[in-house]
């Protein structure tokens, strides 16, 4: 898929608060507004990969899609917006029930 879809306008904070893990250990998060099944504690990158998503950022200069590269927190290619905070490393940040995950465009800040 292309990550250049419009990012979510504002994170829905209520979605996070109401999010809970199910008895089978799974939970729901959203990626670009789409619900995804995830496991609390797995990394955001793992949840996205498991859902078939491999790109969730566009670069500042050329607007090219990026996802995981180093997998261990060194390269910063996997930056993602989680619950409104941009520049989170998807390969490090654990999923919490109800997380609102969004494509990060450029620096992820409005002033870019």
């Amino acid at each position: 898929m292309r990550p250049q879809q419009p990012a979510q306008a504002r994170p829905d904070v209520r979605a996070r608060q109401s999010g809970q893990a199910r008895p089978d250990g799974t939970c729901t998060v959203t990626f670009d507004g789409r619900p995804l099944e995830a496991r609390p504690g797995q990394t955001v990158a793992a949840a996205l990969w498991a859902a078939g998503v491999t790109a969730w950022r566009t670069t500042r200069r050329a607007g090219r899609p990026r996802g995981v590269f180093c997998g261990i927190g060194v390269c910063f290619d996997c930056l993602v917006t989680v619950n409104g905070s941009p520049n989170q490393r998807a390969c490090l940040v654990p999923v919490r029930p109800g997380d609102v995950i969004g494509v990060q465009e450029g620096t992820g800040r409005d002033d870019d």
Binding site: T43, T54, R66, G71
Partner: protein
């Protein structure tokens, strides 16, 4: 001294764990600090608790894991150390907490053991920034820690001993590994036999991987290299070319390329502390001491050589630190087996390194429009212009002129490629901090000269 001396060990991989246990067993008050949520480092990376999977088995791992409890080592998880400072009396270890890394803590210790491992590097080729192209170690880390694959059809490529376990692991996890592309020449191996045979077990380990790959029907191409990755928004295929004259290139369909050209020592903390490096690795003596009094280093921080070498070095460092913290001169006879393993493994991996050097000249000859610095999207052509018309004579000035290496990763990924393009040897990064540090954390730092809490 009435109180037990304190040792801070940074890094809970094989080197840090072995060092922590050796020192704690000898009466030292050890705090083990690691960025990850679980101990193990890269080699013993444990599955995420979210998976509910059983921990990885293995005699060595079992010994390390149970040792942490038995010796009452304090283990601080999710502590990203960004700087280690030394004052006249002791050390201050500064860390950022949790995945958010916006809050800081500092801890004091009488000595430190730096065991921060290393990271893999990839030399650029057209298409290497496409989603689906990942580092070989990254594929392994995601598989070991999270049991996920980015696709189904994988090519594993580059050079070095890490490719074998990665390809084997991916195949065993159900991926279709279309090819293992290794640039090294197997014909160069016999010449190194005298050095390689000092650890026949390691040679057998490599052969074992090769047998398993053949059983999974993985095609192994040696003296070949990936020259391009294709796709628009995602990897669709790679072009593999022979390195010897006369052969034909081939195109292999794949949705994942796991690629690596070797590893580099992680030396940021040692550098902020003022430790001398040799080449790109922290320099240590026979006791694993750096040239900064009170600072030891072990594992891949001091040179790349795998988990068994990291264990041996960590063990020696821990014993040396324990003796010296109690004011004694250590007796190296006590760690003779570890010292023997260390010298053999260093010799073995020097030979592996000689066989698995990335093909010379390749990184310097990538097309102009290939992105070299992934963070700042600087192309090979821009770096070449900085050299030829703007007069950059080394990687440092090329960096200032192009911004290559000035982005988020601080040149950790593009360093080797920029060095190749400028025709200079790779030099250490000289980063001010090992992690990007929020200003609020900097402002709230404790005064190192204040009396110890």
């Amino acid at each position: 001294m009435t109180e037990r001396p304190r040792l801070a060990v940074v890094g809970a991989g094989p080197a840090g764990l072995a060092g922590a246990l050796a020192a704690a067993a000898r009466g030292v008050d050890v705090t083990l600090v690691d960025a990850a949520g679980r101990p193990g480092g890269q080699f013993h990376r444990q599955p995420s608790p979210a998976l509910g999977a059983p921990p990885r088995q293995g005699h060595t791992w079992e010994r390390l894991r149970t040792g942490l409890d038995r010796h009452r080592v304090t283990h601080l998880t999710e502590h990203h150390v960004w700087c280690v400072q030394r004052d006249s009396m002791s050390f201050l270890v500064h860390a950022l907490l949790g995945p958010a890394q916006d809050e800081g803590v500092s801890l004091r210790a009488d000595a430190v053991l730096l065991a921060t491992g290393g990271h893999e590097y990839v030399l650029p080729f057209p298409g290497w920034t496409l989603p689906g192209v990942i580092t070989a170690g990254g594929a392994q880390a995601m598989l070991k820690g999270e049991r996920v694959l980015p696709g189904r059809h994988v090519v594993v490529a580059g050079t070095g001993p890490l490719l074998l376990p990665v390809a084997t692991g991916l195949a065993a996890a159900g991926a279709e590994v279309a090819a293992l592309v290794e640039s090294a020449d197997p014909g160069a191996v016999p010449r190194r036999f005298p050095d390689l045979l000092v650890r026949p077990d390691k040679l057998a380990e490599g052969a074992g991987y090769a047998v398993r790959l053949l059983r999974h029907r993985v095609r192994i191409l040696t003296r070949h290299t990936v020259v391009a990755a294709h796709g628009t928004d995602r990897l669709e295929a790679v072009t593999v070319a022979p390195l010897s004259p006369g052969g034909r290139s081939l195109r292999i369909l794949c949705d994942t390329l796991a690629v690596g050209h070797g590893m580099l020592p992680g030396t940021d903390l040692a550098e902020t502390l003022g430790c001398t490096l040799t080449g790109t690795a922290v320099r240590v003596d026979a006791e694993q001491r750096t040239d900064v009094p009170g600072a030891w280093a072990a594992g891949e921080t001091t040179g790349i050589g795998g988990a068994a070498l990291a264990l041996a070095e960590g063990h020696i460092a821990g014993r040396s630190a324990a003796a010296r913290l109690y004011g004694r001169t250590p007796d190296p006879a006590g760690w003779a087996p570890a010292a023997r393993a260390r010298s053999r493994l260093r010799r073995f991996f020097a030979a592996v390194d000689a066989v698995c050097a990335p093909p010379p000249g390749r990184a310097g000859s990538v097309p102009d429009d290939t992105v070299v610095c992934r963070c700042e999207e600087v192309t090979a052509g821009e770096v070449r212009t900085a050299v030829s018309t703007l007069g950059a004579t080394d990687a440092r000035s090329a960096k200032l002129l192009t911004r290559a290496g000035m982005g988020w990763c601080q040149g950790r990924m593009c360093g080797p490629a920029v060095a190749a393009l400028t025709g200079c040897p790779l030099t250490p990064g000289r980063r001010p901090f090992a992690r990007p540090v929020p200003l609020g954390v900097l402002a709230a730092l404790p005064d190192p000269d204040a009396p110890a809490p």
